[in-house]
Amino acid sequence: MASVPNEIDNTWNRPGERAPLITGGHDFTSLTDVACGPAETYRPPRAWYIAFTISVVLLAILGASIGYLIINGVGVWGVNNPTGWGFAIINFVFWVGIGHAGTLISAILFLFRQKWRTSINRFAEAMTIFAVMCAGIFPGIHVGRIWVTYWMGPLPNQMAMWPNFRSPLLWDVFAVGTYATVSLLFWYVGMIPDLATFRDRSKNKIRRFIYGLFAMGWTGSSRHWHRFERAYLILAALATPLVLSVHSVVSFDFAVSQLPGWHTTIFPPYFVAGAIFGGFAMVVTLALPAREMFGLKNIITLRHLENCCKIILLTGTIVGYAYLMEFFISWYGGNQYESFIFRARALGPYAWAYWTMITCNVLAPQLFWFKWCRTNLWVMFIVVMMVNVGMWFERFVIVVTSLSQDFLPSSWHYYVPTAIDWLTLAGSFGLFFTMFLLFCRFLPMVAMAEVKTVMPHADAHAHVPASRSFDYNPDDFEPEQEQK
């Protein structure tokens, strides 16, 4: 990875002047060339091959461990009698959380006219899709009788049985299902103009056919652009509440139950903040090597990364506040079971997990108060990796500590994951990275059409210095037919 001096520093803030979002003197053509490069080259960088090999091996491990699980039963995991949920649910919550940053970037930042989102929104959205895929696996395989998992869906059946609509697990099915659908749609719709670019630049028939199929006959006409902008806006509006709702609903799995440590009203906002926190960490985790691997440093600039770091700092602090508030309430509430479980988290048998979580989630992001840390790629990388670990441990702490030490001390039992647990977790990363690397190789990982709108050239007064506003207003702006 490159060190800072090689980067073009666009993180400055000068009154009356805007820092450029795209550096390196790109115009539309060169930007298209760079963005299409990874998908058009015959030989992707060696790093891609190495990463892809590792990912596919991990994916195979995922398949094998799920097969082993299905053949033998859930007992191959470390779950036990008080601790009915283990890695599967931890991983589920972890992956669903990861997805949130993508939606936040593409929907909420879009509505808030945050132009810097354009450079990272496409792969952040892709990350969302793949994370939701990973997440979706776990509730399916963690049940005892995998072959009847579909009973969770509201399907007409010979038993005339509906699922139990009072169960938060059922809400999950709907929440995550909706989320996956909207995210996929949003991602795909936003990609159509870029797919058309790919189609138009294709040098062989197969590529042209496939990209053409998915570009759905995009011609770039004003009418197309108009409909596209409208659809995108509507989808963004639809996706925005999902950012808040999905993880709220996931948190209901815990909050609606009556277990000490789960049954708390702070869970929905705390989960959402945590999800965005973890999601942005994953965005940066992906962006750092990707921009290096595919030469996108001028598109995903230091300023973008710094902005992500700022969000990580903000959400990390919110999460830290939530941890603190949980402790306060457990004391203030005076419920002995509640107060015990929080003391046990910090001082009990899982203290190692708890303090790992605190170190990674609360302390590490505080480095981002310093600009040097926000702009140093290595520091950034270490911190976001810690946040990834910390956010996984947050779910571990929530799921495991509460279950293993609930009301009756006679039932208390330590939870120890088995090798299959670990392999399944590692395997889910295999799925995620396999999908992501394939995405980088075959789909437009930079939203070219959108990035171009935030370049000075998009402005009708392009000769005006960069200090002019780049505000993009779809209503009064007709994009150029940039490529033929």
Partner: protein, 1028 residues
């Protein structure tokens, strides 16, 4: 092929190329395979005769395999009045352990026994059972039981001998012996009260006047018998009437668990633990290890077992003062030394006893030497206990030498080469005889060794003949209860493996004309009882023969000078029967192995139980660290379990483990504590102990080491009194509903309108004061509800399946000498506002119209959310297909990780399947299960009530398995809508409370708070300082 050419003489017809070649190997094979036919087969001309023989033997084999009683070969042309297909029938029989029988009522379904209950007509069962009785069903269907006669002669094992071959051998062998009057013949048998066996013994003695009979039991009451002989001049059997005792003193006695009359005693004891008019019994215990009985004491004092002899004299001196006994008895004279027990404790105890003359009893455990028993008998007499709280009958077989003396004499005789034939009827002497006798070595001196046994066990392996013994559920027999009441044991099923009883085998050896158990039993009955066939039938139906109890004897005290027993040693080692394996005979019973020990909660293991303070001194900080115990020349490495409340410098070693040929379940489980037992130290021995290094993971169902933490321990101490509530009798008298005020919570409101249950409203009440914590409810539930056994590794990860468990909590400092113990049975409490139901995404757990929280196994997909949300953690998940046979690798050895590729999910064998009740679904993998309040029993009665148009279901008609088995009657079940039902009254009792009611789950099971009745010592003694 040259070998096929007829260039050398060979048979004209051949069955294989080997035969044609007629090699020596083939000849050998022929001899081994068809020993009786070898001659025929080698004569080529008699192929036709060979076929005839084979045909005939096949036919005969078919006949012997026929399982119907030969007496009733005509099929019924009309349905017998009591046989309705699908409707189970019940037969009375009896379970005999160590020579004492307890009556049982066995449920039989389509000709196979599926469930054991106590016989309510039997005075020592009264409808109740203990764990060993409940588990007998699994033993009956144990595929590891011996199935064939085995001959082992000079290393050659012929495992497929038939009974007729054995019979032929016996008649030939013993005919020869008869001519020599059996001078070199010995018989070793178990302790049994069977009159038929006694009658057959007499016949045997007549046939072999010079033969000798020996009786041996590894766990014996000999010391108690000897004590009675010292005290009364003649051995009398003591009968406690605990229901009349206001003050009970136990000296190292576990009379609620391992006493032969424990089932009755538990009931009597529990009856007096319920406060009636503000009164309940007070119970003092002085013991070394913490027995379950001791854990219930109001005043428990941990004292080295070897000190109890001193202690009881101290008590006697104190009592002599209190009661103004004028002439100091002879036995009081020696031993002026003082025990380590605070004298004030003894003073106040003596005062309390003196204040309750005629209403108190002192009980001594069988591990104590005879003089302690004798002194206690004297003290009981001083306290007017005889006739009130204690009565006496003659001890049967009074002239018998002690079991240890018996086996010692036998071994001496064997070693001297004076035994040519040894017949062992039951037992497992190679395993459980005193270790210093080296029984196995002596056995080799005996040319002909015959062993009748339920299993082809350690002893059988060293015998020339092993014959399968019939299980008591498949055989005729008779036995006497603790008070002599005779029971006829009738078979519930034809012997699965053609086993025979000891009585039958003895008859065969004697050469008696009747070797059929049925006829022998009936003949004995006719001798004992005047009456016709109707009396026999009535006795069979009732399970007891009326008026056969022994007459009560009056006891006159005799002076005695006590032998000075001295167990010197830095440490006391105490051998106790294990609550699961007993003396090792139940080691292959997976239900018992997985039933947690009521005190330690350990499963699938035994351990050296020592006090935490001693452990700390030895440098032990974790259960499972091994110590080396040296008794005389013998050493043993055993893992330690630190038991709070255990006496200092004392080690309790439960016996019955480290079996080597017990079967798939019991082999290699636990540690060979029996190997430290010697002739002189069968109960208590002096020992030295040191840390051995090494670690063996002990697996329990509670108190897992890894989850232990300081915050956890602190929180536990804080909340136990909210969960298992207790108070003192005084507190109860002043504040009867104190239990309801242990936890205060805001009014419990519901978000929605709750359903009213105006039909039946089933509920349960569990009296913590009555509960003795024995765990038979868990086992009865397991037997009733087809609950699988999961094995040690699965218990280690917390996956045991018991639907009802006993939570055991210690109270106080672990290192303090007197911790208090609470036992709390917990099963599904059937919350009306059930948190499990709310969260199930597929509605697999719902309420029925009576308010039962039911599990729909077919609908369950196994999300386990219900278990997570259950505050009582009573839901059990089938992590694997748990109904495996004993071949399951995880049920055998600890240390095999459950992955990868180790998950043999073997089907049950056909015999094992018979043990399952057809009335309860066998749950598959991936399904949640839990207590149903025995819904199959509820529905059976409801259906009957509907068919027969009852106006209502009478209270007590429905009893879940746990409640039915409970010897203490601690569990009550019934309809809460019936204003007169017992359960309703208990729910309205002052002591009743709902555990975790503050969660607004509205449990249907109420607990009744535990009461302790400590003596108010300030008012009794001049010494002010309290000692509790």
């Amino acid at each position: 092929m040259p070998s096929l050419t007829r260039d050398k003489p060979g048979p004209a017809y051949w069955r294989s190329l080997d035969e044609h070649a007629n090699t020596p190997e083939f000849q050998e094979f022929l001899q081994a395979e068809f020993p009786t036919l070898a001659g025929e087969l080698q004569r080529p001309s008699s192929r036709r005769r060979f076929l005839k023989l084979m045909g005939a033997s096949l036919g005969l084999a078919g006949l012997t395999a026929c399982r119907w009683p030969k007496e009733h070969i005509v099929p019924a042309t009309r349905q017998p009045y009591d046989r309705i297909p699908g409707v189970p029938s019940h037969y009375a029989t009896a379970f005999e352990l160590n020579g004492v029988a307890t009556g049982l009522l066995v449920t039989s379904y389509e000709g196979r026994p599926i469930k054991i209950e106590g016989n309510d007509l039997h005075p020592f069962s009264r409808g109740r059972t203990n764990s060993w009785m409940q588990a007998a069903i699994l033993e009956l269907y144990d595929p590891n039981r011996s199935q064939r006669v085995v001959q082992r002669e000079d290393q050659a094992i012929t495992p497929h001998r038939r009974w007729d071959e054995f019979d032929a051998f016996v008649s030939q062998h013993f005919d020869e012996l008869r001519t020599s009057r059996g001078s070199r013949l010995c018989v070793l048998h178990e302790n049994t009260s069977s009159p038929s066996f006694a009658r057959m013994k007499a016949k045997f003695r007549a046939a072999f006047p010079e033969a000798e009979l020996y009786e041996y039991e590894p766990i014996s009451r000999d010391s108690e018998i000897e004590g009675a002989r010292l005290a009364f001049g003649t051995p009398l059997r003591s009968h406690l009437h605990l229901d009349k005792a206001d003050v009970i003193v136990s000296l190292d006695s576990d009379f609620l668990m391992t006493h032969p009359a424990a089932v009755k005693y538990a009931g009597d004891f529990a009856a007096r633990r319920r406060p009636v008019d503000g009164k309940m019994s007070r119970f003092y215990t002085f013991e070394g290890g913490m027995s379950l009985t001791g854990s219930l004491a109001d005043h428990r004092t941990a004292v080295r077992p070897s000190e109890i002899g001193v202690l009881v004299r101290q008590l006697a001196r104190q009592l002599a003062d209190e009661l103004h006994v004028s002439d100091t008895p002879q036995w009081l004279a020696p031993a002026k030394s003082e025990s380590s027990v605070d004298h004030k404790v003894i003073e106040s105890l003596a005062h309390d006893l003196a204040a309750h003359r005629g209403r108190c009893a002192i009980v001594v455990g069988p591990n104590q030497p005879p003089e302690v028993h004798a002194i206690a008998q004297h003290l009981n007499a001083w306290l007017d206990a005889p006739g009130n709280t204690v009565s006496y009958t003659a001890e049967p077989d009074a002239e018998r030498e002690s079991h240890v003396a018996n086996i010692t004499r036998l071994v001496e005789r064997m070693r001297a080469g004076n035994v040519d034939t040894l017949v062992m009827l039951g037992g497992n002497a190679v395993y459980d005889a005193p270790a210093d006798l080296e029984f196995a070595g002596a056995l080799e001196q005996v040319p002909t060794r015959i062993h009748l046994s339920l299993y082809d066990n350690e002893t059988s392996q060293l015998c020339s003949w092993h014959a399968p013994r019939a299980h008591f559920l498949e055989a005729w027999g008779d036995a006497r209860a603790w008070d002599g009441t005779l029971s006829i044991c009738q078979p519930l099923i034809e012997p699965l493996y053609n086993g025979r009883t000891p009585t039958e085998l003895l008859a065969l050896i004697t050469g008696d004309s009747t070797t059929d158990g049925h006829k022998i039993t009936q003949a004995t009955f006719n001798e004992l009882v005047n009456g016709d066939e109707t009396v026999w039938k009535q006795s069979l139906a009732d399970g007891i023969v009326k008026d056969t109890a022994w007459a009560t004897e009056s006891a006159t005290l005799a002076g005695f000078s006590p032998p000075t027993s001295d167990t010197s040693g830095e440490w006391d080692v105490v051998f106790t029967p294990d609550y699961s394996a007993f003396d090792g005979r139940f080691a292959n019973n997976a239900w018992l192995q997985e039933l947690p020990d009521p005190i330690t909660k350990l499963t699938w293991d035994n351990a050296a139980l020592i006090s935490p303070a001693d452990a700390a001194e030895l440098g032990i900080d974790r259960n499972g660290q091994q110590i080396e115990i040296t008794v005389g020349q013998r050493t043993l490495n055993v893992p330690v379990y630190m038991l709070p409340g255990h006496a200092r410098k004392t080690i309790t070693l439960p016996m019955g483990y480290a079996r080597t040929t017990a079967g798939a379940v019991g082999d290699g489980v636990g540690f060979a504590t029996h190997s430290l037992r010697t002739v002189d130290g069968m109960s208590i021995a002096g020992a030295s102990v040191k840390l051995a290094g090494g670690f063996h993971e002990l697996i329990g169902t509670q108190d897992h080491h890894a989850i232990k933490s300081e915050v956890g321990d602190a929180a536990m101490q804080g909340r136990i009194d909210d969960l298992a509530r207790e108070g003192t009798l005084d507190e109860f008298k002043h504040h009867p509903n104190f239990a309801k005020h242990r936890v205060h919570h805001p009014p419990l409101e519901s978000l929605w309108k709750e359903k009213d249950y105006d039909g039946h409203k089933w509920g349960m009440a569990i009296d913590l004061n009555a509960c003795i914590g024995c765990g038979v409810c868990s086992l009865a539930c397991q037997a009733e509800n087809n609950i699988p056994v999961v094995g040690k590794d699965e218990v280690a990860v917390g996956r045991e399946m018991h639907w009802i468990r006993i939570d055991r909590y210690f109270k106080g400092e672990p290192t303090a000498p007197n911790v208090e113990v609470v036992h709390q049975p917990v099963a599904c409490v059937h919350c009306e506002n059930a948190p499990c139901e709310q969260v199930c995404p597929v509605a697999a757990t719902v309420h029925d119209e009576d308010g039962l929280n039911v599990m729909v196994y077919n609908r369950c997909i196994g999300t386990r959310y219900c278990a997570n949300n259950c505050p009582y953690k009573v839901r059990r998940f089938n992590w694997f297909y748990n109904h495996h046979g004993p071949a399951h690798p995880r049920s055998k050895k600890h240390g095999t990780s459950p992955f990868p590729g180790k998950l043999a999910q073997a089907e049950l064998t056909d015999v094992e399947k018979l043990a399952n009740s057809p009335f309860v679904t066998v749950r598959s993998r991936g399904v949640m299960e839990k207590c149903t309040y025995c819904v199959q029993r509820i529905n059976a009665v409801k259906i009957k009530a509907k068919n027969e148009r009852w106006e209502s279901i009478p209270d007590g008609m429905i009893t879940p398995a746990c409640a039915q088995a409970c010897p203490a009657s601690a569990i009550t079940f019934g309809d809460l809508n019936d204003p007169n039902s017992a359960v309703r009254r208990l729910h309205e009792d002052d002591r009743a409370y709902a555990m975790l009611a503050e969660l607004n789950v509205k449990p249907r099971t109420a607990y009744l708070a535990k009461l302790r009745n400590p003596a108010n010592r300030d008012s009794h003694t001049d010494h002010g300082n309290e000692h509790t």
